[in-house]
Amino acid sequence: MITVSISPLTYQSARRPIWCAGCGDYNVLSALYGALSQVKAVPEETIIVSGIGCSGRLPGFVNSYGFHTVHGRALPIAVGAKVARPELTVLAVGGDGDGMGIGGGHLPHVARRNPDLTYILVDNSLYGQTKGQTSATTPQGQVTSTAPYGNRDQPVNPVLLALAYGASFVARGFAGAQHHEQLTELMAQGIRHRGFGFIHVLSPCVTFNPIETYRYYQERVTNLPATHNPSDRLAALGQALAQGEKIPLGLFYQASRPTLEEGLEEIRQQAAPEGKGSLQELLEQFA
């Protein structure tokens, strides 16, 4: 059996991560190794697509096919890969700037189309790669290099957005040591989920973010109430909205509905119920 040899180490690539020592992204990466091994993903049958940013460098450190693309476009590229090769496992990864800023226009459409892929949003509340500017998730009041008088803008709430967009799996994890197992588990669930999985990961930037530190999160994260019913979308919206002093972690929402690939297959059946089309016949339309 092929599975005997699979362990988190299976997914480690030869390249050494270039992140600053202590960066949350190391924990994201190792949770991903764990999740891939849990779901027994075959490395060569896995594609990880990423955007640009510190977090966007992740595919380089995973033993799988990878595509490190441009800033903000990881999602549509991942969709193209999945639609072309539905038999492969496809993931997308990017930062808060990448996914909520420049790339924020793609998420609603990917979520509502429900391709069977998993998107990991690595949120450090700022632009790490470019050295610490405000991002769409920087809290109000925080001082950054582009908000020297304190950020005035109300931040976006990525989980709330994913829910509003109709993502069929929405979860939040934290890249802290104590939450490593939970994060791994959420990623594994997300990959197993048939449809679009959105995982919001809180991942501290130790170099540029003196506010949202490990400690900051440790003091605030909490699990979703045991009574929370992840099939109730309005309840999930409520949980996402409630976020104030406490930041709930876990599975907010999961639903089962047809995937994009299934829809496309259905269309193929409908278009050519008696098997493939012929070019010759098609030309006759013009004769």
Binding site: S13, R15, P43, E44, E45, I47, V49, I52, P59, G60, N63, S64, Y65, G66, F67, H68, T69, V70, R73, L75, P76, I77, A78, V79, G80, A81, K82, V83, A84, R85, E87, L88, G105, H106, P108, H109, L264, I267, R268, Q270, A271, A272, K276, G277, L279, Q280, L282, L283, F286, A287
Partner: protein, 576 residues
């Protein structure tokens, strides 16, 4: 049109009148009978109310442009006829809604410009036939068909195919027109297909030919975003591609569309996007990524009038520079330019092979004129369709696989996801042979050279040019894309005026077939470069790449260049 047997017909009216439908069906019916045709449409960007014109040149012999002066004008009413009367030839005929007997067929008056002016009571005729007054376009089609001598069955079939749901109403109106003209004294446009061509032709538009070429090439994913005048490629494929096991995705914007294409191509399948100027601009960042990360991709840009939203429904050839240079840094891409509908088919097929062979973006530049017009041509020989596969890693390559390995051709084996031992990361960062980010001067130089070397290699199979006219001529024309037809016609017209010229049309604009061009210009006293834009983009390219002393004939009017304009330029260049 210069040839005696060609008839130029123009239908005119307002958006919503069905002008384009009438014109298209006339071309289709003529084509199916075995005649040749060439069309041009022009309308406003408004959905309703703007002026709309559809022109068809129909002839037993192949035609290369939609003609300049009209033999027959069909207008929906007098107001729609007036602006076009001056384009009528002497002895030409203008038909429009107007008071006349409903039983007496087609009475014409001869005006002092030498035109036959023929009012037809279309609305009244329709009323009598119990048909809707909105079907005046079908009456016009019937009139035109009859005057041209087309057998009724071809008209009927064309209408049936177009309107499977509203067949009866339209057929009734068609018949009204056909009958009204039947006994006219003015049946002077009798055309007949040439021997052996009866029923042999395909009639289609450039956009349709591109879509067919892509299906023939094995397209798996088309992704697009609606935009005039490229949308029909997506609409056609949305209907047809699923039958061939492929899929069409409509992106939330053009960046999403091209992103999907690159994802599918990275994953190992053939993929294409089509757009027009504004979308093409938005795609440039991802075109740069495809060039850098060496991802095959086919991108169709159907040029329209610009800049910005510009003249969405008009033709212009002003995206050449963008196609060549449109992203930051230096991102080599192949650029192809079909010169007629038929070459849209062949070049699209070829584009996929080039993209896969050289692992880079291939851009196909159409414009509204070539994309929307219908031409009749012989069936392509589908058995000959040749598909190149990407260079895959050999078992040897897979031990310590280097995705971007330096090779003699510059082309490195590209692993298809799913291949054990082939895992790698494609990236838009500068990188080493394994794909790991690397920013040393040496690596950047070598990888830049590798990417450009592939382009040069592609040039070896991109030497196809169309050369025509007199080989002795001292006046030459070098053009690109949709102007070829007008130039062919102009050279023929010039010959009749005792002037000789020859022309060259490369099918690839990047890399340019430089040797062919150098050979062509030998002995020329003047080189004219016709194009539908303001700055003479192709003329500049020829100057920059080949140092040729060209004369730019750049016409920035959002319409096809006419043979007359080209003849005038030939005449001027021929002056001693």
């Amino acid at each position: 049109m210069r040839r005696a047997k060609a008839v130029v017909v123009r239908v005119s009216g307002r958006a919503g009148d069905g002008i384009i439908t009438a014109g298209e069906l006339l071309a289709v019916a003529a084509g199916h009978w075995g005649l040749h045709s060439h069309t041009f449409e022009s309308y406003g960007a408004e959905v309703r109310g703007g002026d709309t014109v559809y022109q068809v040149c129909i002839s037993p012999a192949p035609v290369t442009d939609p003609g300049e002066r009209l033999d027959l004008l069909l207008a929906i009413d007098r107001e729609a006829a007036l602006p076009h009367l001056e384009a009528l030839k002497e002895g030409g005929m203008a038909i429009y809604e107007g008071a006349a007997a409903t039983d007496h067929p087609l009475a014409c008056e001869f005006d002092h410009e030498g035109h036959y002016i023929c009012p037809v009571p279309m609305a009244e005729l329709l009323r009598l036939a119990g048909a809707s007054a909105r079907a005046r376009n079908m009456v016009a089609l019937g009139l035109a068909g009859r005057l041209l001598g087309l057998p009724q069955k071809y008209l009927t079939e064309a209408v049936k195919e177009r309107f499977p749901d509203q067949m009866e109403a339209n057929l009734t109106a068609l018949k009204v027109g056909f009958t009204y003209a039947a006994d006219s004294a003015h049946l002077k446009f009798h055309l007949r297909p040439r021997q052996g061509e009866m029923g042999a032709h395909l009639v289609m538009s450039g956009n349709e030919a591109v879509a067919l070429g892509a299906i023939a090439a094995g397209l798996k994913l088309f992704a697009g975003y609606p935009i005039t005048p490229a949308t029909d490629i997506m609409e056609f494929l949305a209907r047809e591609l699923p039958k061939f096991g492929g899929a069409v995705l409509q992106g939330e914007d053009e960046m999403a569309a091209l992103g999907m294409v690159l994802g599918a191509s990275f994953a190992g399948e053939r993929a294409m996007a089509a757009t027009s100027g504004p979308g093409f601009t938005l795609m440039q960042e991802l075109i740069g990524l495809a060039s850098m990360a060496e991802i095959p991709a086919v991108i169709v840009d159907v040029q329209r009038g610009g800049p910005s939203t510009g003249l969405p429904t008009k033709p212009e050839q002003a995206d050449l520079n963008l196609a060549l240079y449109g992203s930051h840094g230096e991102a080599p891409r192949i650029v192809l330019a079909p010169t007629d509908v038929q070459s849209c088919f062949g070049l699209t097929l070829k584009a996929f092979n080039l993209a896969d062979r050289y692992q880079m973006p291939v851009i196909i530049l159409l414009d509204q004129f070539i994309a929307k017009r219908r031409e009749a041509f012989d069936r392509p020989r589908l058995l000959q369709v040749h598909k190149t596969r990407r260079l895959l890693p050999s078992p040897d390559d897979l031990g310590g696989y280097k995705r971007y390995r330096f090779t003699e051709s510059g082309v490195s084996p590209m692993a298809r996801p799913g291949t054990p031992g082939g895992t790698y990361v494609a990236t838009g960062l500068e990188h080493d042979e394994e794909g790991a980010p690397s920013y040393t001067s040496e690596m950047h130089r070598r990888m830049t050279e590798k990417r450009f070397h592939k382009l040069a290699m592609a040039g070896r199979e991109l030497r196809q040019v169309h050369v025509f006219g007199s080989s002795q001529a001292r006046v030459g024309l070098i053009g690109w894309g949709s102007t070829e037809g007008a130039v062919r016609e102009a050279i023929a017209q010039a010959r009749e005026q005792g002037l000789s010229a020859r022309a060259l049309y490369p099918l690839a604009l990047n890399p340019l077939p430089e040797a062919q061009i150098r050979r062509f210009v030998r002995g020329l006293g003047a080189i004219i470069v016709p194009e539908s834009n303001y700055t003479g983009q192709f003329a500049s390219l020829l100057k920059a790449r080949l140092g040729l002393p060209v004369t730019s004939l750049a016409i920035p009017e959002g319409r096809p260049i006419t043979p007359g304009e080209v003849v005038a330029a030939i005449k001027e260049a021929s002056q001693p």
